[in-house]
Subunit: 445 residues, 2 copies
């Protein structure tokens, strides 16, 4: 179905046909399709979607379109929508909506739903509490499978995930029963015998990245979230955990490329926003790079004596930068995936040192040989080869130490990534290079 | 429970106690714990694990330990283990096991399980077929909910996921029923009325990255895999999709830092392997960087006339490199997440061009001003500012074009990332810089 045909249908008031077309698409595709229409058409088309489907489609939409729709809705429409919307989706929406609409929405929520949402909104950003939903199935340990199944049948349809049920005793979480074990056990089997009492859970303030790790480590569908008293207050579902993983990775990657992280997609971000996200680090790095420059000027006599020296500056700088970012990238990634910890810093340094010996030797030999053959100048060959060796070692050590320390003092290690390390390594490279040169050619500086 | 105490228990033959300790840990932690023991103790401890749990624990272990255990097992032990092991886990294991053990395992599988495994092993690496499992629940559309539930009860316990059931007609997939709708519908409800006929599926040869995208886009727990005739041959489960996502990202990130991708963790990889993964690109980039050097030598007169020129080389190179990698990173990420496509190349170029105007102007102004104040030299200020402006524009364009073309011709765009682009941009920067300088100072080259 293409956009134009659909718009035509709307204009010809062929609503029934339009309705059928929408009902055949899945929620995500419907949302994407409606996004393509202009706002008025979208609002019209949205009203054609069946009540059961509407809420899901809505939660798949961009906040821009959500804002517009909420603005268009009558009180009754809004109420209907909010009744079917999952808690966490409602919160996501509220976080992006303009204040006047937020108040309008909160007004339309029944009191206890409102209080829950207010609670959810209060959790710190990037905490388990901020991504959890309060809709889950709880069972009593005294229930039988039959009773449990009936209980789920009664209330399950409104719950976001029913595949992991939580056995609670005076609000405390005492066990977990999977839908699988319910479905594959006899009706009169007792929940106590089915429930798994060794529970993996997080607290409302646990960092969402940590939550995502646990999901991956234990292949969970949902994770219970406990408050400070160990009472069950919500669950995080696997789809939200997946999103967290992707967002956190995007953040790291942007930082590693010297940009401010940005949750929107490339085309969603305006030119000005893009520029804003990039300029800060560029300025910082540009000015720190001038340090390297001013060092060079101190060795003016060196390169006026041996002008050829200048031509190896780019090669040394780039190689140093690349070696440094190789190490920093591995360390940053290792930290992000929880494979490397600060206490292992010496283990890491020793490893990077040995690696840099191997790598440095090969690079030095290869380039030294090339220079000797090309220029028949043994001294230059020695200077460059020696410098390369030292630069590689220094670069790899800086590349592994900085991210580890950043992580230790609670700064995102990704900040310490390639560009920053490149700039630092540059300075070292130039210093090493000219010092060696000055000695080999015994130039007076 | 710490390692030493546990080893003590084994030595004192307190097997019952050891058994209880293990039974209280979840599968993943048990595996991690056993990995810490030395091989003999591990084998001993593994035998203490309850039969139901053993297979899961085994599938959580490193291939190194799996190999050792399989080697130790008696035929009966091996048979028991293989009976409980999921198809996809068995395949994963076989892919890492030495040939002699593989044959031994295949010998111990019953004929039809063996044939399935052989089929699975034949699928191309990184294809949906290679990560799918052949264990899933199929239903007939004529069944009622009650019948379906009984069917699941009978066979479900052996299936990896029972939360999405597949309605088939002569092997063709005609609909999907979630466990949720089964659990929340009346017993006499008919499957035909419950099943969702608009199915999201992949083919055995679909790339696993593509599969992971669909999982994220549609928040799936499992995805049906069809063969060329549209017959259901397996399913991919969400946990495998999550792993794919992480692996693919790691690959991109390593490539973006000029390293060969590597599936092992940092500490699992030996110094030699690490060096091997890093050296190739370093050599390539080192030698391409010498081009920049040789260009510099062509402008010897320039910097012997105005030595100050040399001191701005690092700043220009770094800034160009950073601008280029900012763009390439965003494009590479966008391509990986399916947010950017080759057909949008002009849209991207135009956007990057406008961004580079903004960014370039700010950088040029800031630095030009600084130089004028610091050196009271208007010409130098102009030369550097102009060069910066041009370099930023060139860098951003190269940074967005190269990855898009790489992707177009089927090369991983991540290869075109920061380091390579930096090297290319360097050359341009130097050329631009000295050409402008030569004209402003009208130096004869």
């Amino acid at each position: 179905m293409n956009k134009e045909e659909f718009i035509q249908l709307l204009q010809d008031k062929k609503y029934k046909t339009a309705q059928n077309i929408l009902s055949e698409m899945n929620d995500m595709d419907t949302a994407a399709f409606l996004e393509e229409l202009d706002a008025k058409e979208c609002a019209l088309a949205f009203r054609l979607i069946s009540k059961e489907k509407a809420a899901n489609v809505f939660s798949c939409m961009s906040s821009k379109m959500q804002t517009y729709l909420v603005d268009m809705f009558s009180e009754t429409e809004l109420k209907e929508l909010l009744d079917d919307l999952y808690m966490d989706d409602t919160v996501d929406m509220l976080e992006d909506l303009p204040a006047n609409l937020v108040t309008r929405i909160l007004k339309n929520l029944d009191s206890n739903k409102r209080s829950t949402i207010n609670k959810l909104l209060k959790y710190p950003e990037d905490s388990a509490g901020s991504i959890m939903t309060t809709e889950y199935v709880t069972l009593k340990k005294t229930m039988t499978v039959k009773q449990a199944m009936n209980h789920i049948k009664d209330i399950g349809i409104h719950k976001e995930t029913i595949y992991t049920c939580y056995v609670t005793e005076s609000k405390k979480l005492i066990g977990i029963v999977t839908a699988k074990s319910l479905m594959t056990s006899d009706d009169d089997e007792n929940i106590t015998n089915l429930m798994n009492t060794n529970i993996i859970s997080v607290h409302t303030h646990t960092d969402q990245e940590q939550v995502a790790h646990l999901f991956r480590k234990y292949d969970l569908i949902a994770m219970p979230v406990l408050d400070s008293d160990g009472c069950l207050v919500g669950i995080v579902t696997f789809d939200d955990a997946m999103d967290v993983m992707v967002d956190e990775t995007n953040e790291d990657i942007s930082r590693m490329a010297a940009m401010e992280p940005n949750e929107k997609t490339y085309f969603e971000t305006t030119v000005w926003q893009q520029a804003k996200h990039r300029i800060l680090w560029l300025l910082v790095l540009m000015f720190s790079a001038t340090i390297t420059g001013s060092i060079i000027t101190r060795y003016e006599n060196a390169f006026s004596a041996v002008p050829l020296l200048v031509s190896f500056i780019p090669m040394l700088m780039d190689t140093g930068g690349n070696c440094g970012s190789q190490s920093s990238t591995l360390i940053i990634r290792g930290l992000a995936l929880g494979e490397i910890h600060f206490k292992e810093i010496f283990k890491v340094m020793f490893k990077e040192f040995r690696i840099s010996l191997v790598v440095g030797f090969i690079l030095a030999a290869a380039n030294g040989l090339r220079i000797f053959i090309q220029y028949q100048n043994f001294n230059i060959a020695i200077v460059v080869a020696l410098s390369l060796m030292v630069v590689v070692i220094v670069a790899k050590l800086i590349g592994c130490i900085l991210p580890l320390f950043a992580n230790k003092i609670g700064v995102d290690p990704a900040i310490m990534a390639s560009p920053l390390i490149t700039t630092i390594v540059d300075t070292c490279s130039i210093l090493v290079y000219f010092n060696i040169a000055v000695h080999v050619f015994n130039i007076v500086v």
